[in-house]
Amino acid sequence: MSRDHEPDHTHEPPAPAPVTPDDAGSQALAEALHSSFAIVKVVMLLMVLAFFSSGFFTVGPSEKAVILRFGRPVGEAGKVLLNSGWHWSYPYPIDEVVKIPITEIQKVNSTVGWYATTPEQELSGEELPAGASLNPAVDGYAITADRNIIHTRAMLYYHIENPIHFVFDFVSASNTMQNVLNNALLYTAAHFNVDDVLTRDVAGFRDAVLQRVSDLTEQEQLGIVIDQCEVQSVPPRQLKDVFSRVTSARENRNKLLNEAHSYENQVLSQSGAQAASITNAAAADRARFVESITAEAKRFSDLLPKYESNPGLFAQQTLVQMMGPILTNVQDKIFLPGRADGKPRELRLMLNREPPQPKTAAPNP
């Protein structure tokens, strides 16, 4: 065909002359191909290396990782989780690495028990005036055991303990946690009376919520550990005033009772002291009385032989002995000798309760 189109070249034999430049060209091409083939080989080698080194990965300090080999977690039952550090796995599609945040504490808020409010209102602390009733579509609340309405909300902090359950068994475990918390609030409110929730047993209410949450999470095998639970409960805004009046009435009652108790303490301790002093005085009297009569009896027994030996003399002696000290102590002593004519003397007494000036001792006769 080429011959038909190019008749000029037909009479010329296929000369080797053009072959030489042809050969040189193909040689150049071959060389070029050869070198590029070498480059391709190097690139392929690099790619293979990259393929295998892509299997290295790091696990951060607050996460764990699981290697799925053909979809199945690798490792024995307790050793599935990889700790932080360098690890290696086969590249995809053989292995697949799933990283799971673990030590970081997660938080979930309840959504059913609180009236309609926005974060801005919450921050500024202002409240919209409440209507006369609660719209079930907007306002959340809980019904207590005595069929009162209260608002309550909870904040739960937890961390993941078993990531296998948490990640591979639940589409959204945090959503499930929220529902569990909501359920726990309603359930607990359903067997607490309104005053227990609000004032009398606030801690008990919180503990019961916590208990319910941990029961449910255990039952549903969420693989989490609860760190903390905060519960806040308030009476409906519509009844704020009347609830606060109850509180002040209760406080007033407690004040009265405290006063009564302090009065009680005072009266009882006073009466106790008084009783002790009465009995002590009596005991002292008894001791003194017995003591003195015993002493007297002893003296009597001592004196008796003397007296019996000569009663008259004894009496005289005793009297005189007694009079001696009396006379020295007595303030005024007046001796009236009999008048020579034998008539009685006349004395005039001026009685004062207290002498205005103590007289100097009357001269001894």
């Binding site: 979809g71 529902n179 009266v267 009297l319």
Partner: protein
């Protein structure tokens, strides 16, 4: 020759990889898979791992999430056994347990279609169960009469049995009440009742406080009086004991009543003259009788 071998190896590897892609698929831990042969579900795979299959026109693999999915139904009004209107919302954790059954039931295994069906089942189960229980089963201070858990599990069982009879390939992992409410106009009457209850409490606290305080005070007074009276009685008894002890000593004095008498008089005298006494004697009183017989220098008339 060497190059040929290399080519063959590479070719073989490529063929193996290609074949693996065609003939092998994997099921992750969080998935279940169903294999259809010419459009008909034939195999059910629930365990994770690698599995073989025939390539496309023969067999096809459908994978589903087998993790627990959350679903909440509408907050709907139901009538309790004692004719109270109660709004109830439940949440459900459900998962695909049997992909072979699930797949043909809902067009292409759509979870939305499944949830729609679940919702209608929940609605009927909920109204049936709520209708069997009075309000006191939902809220009650007595833990024994509160049937919250029982209600939840009754709803769960009702839904579960419906799912089983329909053979949906769905399993309920858990079910709970998410929200309870009362119709809006009822909340108003509840508020009125709560207000009157509060007012009763207020007056109760007032009276209780005063009465209790009075009781405590009067009891304290009574106890104080009793203590004093007891102490007085004890004092009398103690003094009596003293006198009894003295009486035991008395026989000593009876040995000579005269002396006892004399001594008593002496001591009485001593006591009476102890302080601020003024004594006036004439000469007959001893020891001044000594003056009587003394010679005096008084002039005798």
């Amino acid at each position: 020759m060497k190059r040929n071998l290399m080519t063959i190896v590479i070719g073989a590897v490529l063929i193996v990889i290609f074949a693996l892609l065609l003939f092998v698929f994997q099921v992750r831990r969080s998935e279940v898979a169903v294999v259809t042969t010419f459009g008909k579900p034939t195999r059910n795979l629930t365990e994770p791992g690698a599995y073989g299959k025939w390539p496309w026109p023969v067999e096809k693999v459908y994978k589903f999430d087998q993790r627990v999915q959350n679903f909440e139904d509408r907050f709907s009004q139901n009538l309790t056994a004692d004719n109270n209107n109660l709004l109830v919302m439940v949440y459900v954790g459900w998962k695909i347990s049997d992909a072979k059954a699930f797949f043909p039931k809902f067009a292409g295994g759509s979870t939305v279609a499944a949830q729609n069906m679940l919702e209608s089942m929940l609605r009927s189960a909920k109204s049936a169960v709520v209708g069997r229980h009075p309000l006191a089963d939902f809220v009650n201070a007595d833990a024994k009469q509160l049937k919250f858990d029982a209600i939840e599990s009754e709803i769960e069982q009702a839904v579960q049995s419906q799912l089983q009879t329909n053979n949906c390939g769905i399993e309920i992992a858990f079910l709970g009440i998410k929200k309870l409410g009362l119709p809006e106009n009822v909340t108003e009457t509840v508020f009125q009742r709560m207000t009157s209850e509060r007012q009763i409490l207020i007056s109760q606290f007032q009276y209780e406080g005063e009465a209790e305080a009075q009781k405590i005070k009067s009891a304290a007074d009574r106890q104080a009086a009793e203590t004093i009276a007891n102490a007085d009685a004890a004092a009398t008894r103690i003094r009596g004991e003293g006198e009894a002890a003295a009486a035991r000593v008395l026989p000593v004095f009876q040995q000579n009543p005269e002396l006892a008498n004399f001594l008593l008089r002496i001591s009485a005298l001593q006591q009476s003259l102890n302080q601020r006494a003024t004594l006036i004697f004439d000469e007959r009183t001893p020891p001044f009788d000594l003056f009587q017989h003394l010679p005096t220098n008084a002039p005798s008339r």
